[in-house]
Amino acid sequence: MNISPVHYIAFPLLAAFLIPLLAKLHKELVRIVPGIVLGYFLIISATLMMRVHETGTISQVIAGWSAPWGINLVFSAFSGFLASLMSLIGFLAWLYSYRFKKVDDEPSQKYFILMMMLVTGSIGIVLTGDIFNLFVFMEIVAISSYALTAFYTGRDSAEAAFKYLLIGSFASALILLAILLLYTQTGTLNMADLASKMHLVSTPIKASVLVLFLVGFGIESEMFPLNGWAPDAYSQAPAPIGAIFAGVVVKAGVYALIRVIFTIFGFSGAFEPLIILGLITMVVAEVSALRQDNLKRMLAFSSIGQMGVVLIAFGIGTSNAVFAALFLMFNHAIIKSLLFFSGSYLLYNSKTKSINDLKGMAKKNAFTALFFALGAFAIVGLPPFSGFWSKLYLLMSAADSHMFLLIAVILIMAVVEIVYYFRVVGKLYYSKETTDIEVTKPSINGMLVIAFLGLLILAVGFYPDLITGYLHQAADSLMDKTAYIQDVLTANI
């Protein structure tokens, strides 16, 4: 059996259905099996990325019906890049939470199933070539994230989950309506086929479909003004899930939005609504982040702000800007995960999760504090770290398109970012008084994950060429709509 994109979906499902039975054999299997699956994701990613590099887009049909008739999975340079990124973050989150909770507790069994399906669903969104199948995967992601947000019984997590559920169901209703409208006009659900039949759709319907998709997927990608769920969900969910939300789930939402705009609607060049929405999202989120006292909420707002920047970059729409957007997504995924992982150890015993509880933590917990600081420096875009390059490329591409006002706003927001991240780092290192909160030393797997992410940030910071070549290829593959249609519709079984 050759490795193929469908393994991303088939094996985790097999594992998820098996785990309740395996739990009767040995409790430990419940934690190990998801890890094996997520580790296998890395192997699939590596193999397929290599194959894509050599032979181009892989389009795999399912159930033996070729593209417009059946459902297919598309592993292009672009979707493959996102799937690999998600696999990486998913595996690291699993490793980090391996000693997460006592395994005799029944919920820990459910935790690992839900976490694995959260990653699988996101990868499914990215890989699928069918718009309704995308909706189904979105629901898989949605249901597991509601349950995971409400995972801790002690906190206000049920409230956060309920908010998330309300907004999420609203989004899925809108997306269903949009899919229905598209289906009536084109008679197909395959995205490549839709893209080639878009000329059949009359303008008013096109406009309403675009608005519906923009709002629906905008909710998933934390776009203003429908991102009220995000800070609550991030701060109430377990820390590794926060990292998955920032590194995986949001990316899937952005992917869906971008796929619809670039491929189905075939916009090329600057797409102003996206720039404007991204700008508002960024400004509102960064300013709100300034006022947060809860560290996780601050990280959540910062995450929303970063997604705003990504949307701006996609909105500019030149090949270089898309490249910058992908670079930003990559950086955001690894750096935000690092911040969530290390931040959660720093505040492990703090009840309020307040930033003030971080005072002088660097002395007690030097290792974690160091990597937290590294992450903070990287995300605001200081030079030797990877965050610097993505911001630089973004500004360069904006300058190419003569959007100087945009550059000014992004720079001002970068200053805001610096202020609130440095406030935290300052509390860590330069606070005279120290809190009397007990420190928890990270477990060995937690340290491994944190160190790996830190080193990855440094490596990409010093040698951005490690990934820029691949990112350029990914950006080109996203921009080339005709090649996508070609690859999907002519793929042989």
Binding site: F132, V136, A158, K163, L165
Partner: protein, 123 residues
């Protein structure tokens, strides 16, 4: 004939869109969590009706080749929206069940299921 078509069209589309709007109204204005979830399921119902309505063809038959009329392909209604609705109904039930379980937990915690009495639910 034209008239009758018009009446059917207006009543089916009209009631579906009315369900959508009524449900949305409940979601946006109601204060009780169960009422909000009822609103969500009304929105879902409206959507499902829209799906089936769009697939309907005048004088069509159900998309099943029953013995005896195995060649009536030309008169069949569109089967695709029906297949999609099957999926959507089941997913809708799953979402409703999760929402209800969250309400039960909220009630245990706060002894109330009204938004205006749970501070952390306001936004």
């Amino acid at each position: 004939m034209q008239m009758i078509q018009q009446i059917i069209s207006v009543s089916v589309y009209g009631s579906a869109i009315a369900l959508l709007l009524i449900g949305l109204y409940a979601v946006l204005t109601k204060k009780h969590l169960i009422k909000i979830v009822i609103g969500l399921s009304i929105v879902d119902a409206g959507l499902h009706l829209l799906f089936v309505a769009v697939g309907y063809i005048n004088n069509g038959t159900a998309p099943i080749f029953s013995p005896g009329n195995e060649n009536r392909v030309l008169q069949m209604v569109d089967p695709v929206p029906q297949a999609l609705v099957l999926t959507a109904i089941v997913i809708g039930f799953a979402t409703t069940a999760v929402a209800l379980s969250l309400i039960i937990r909220l009630y245990k915690h706060h002894k109330t299921a009204r938004i205006d009495e749970i501070k952390t639910l306001k936004w």
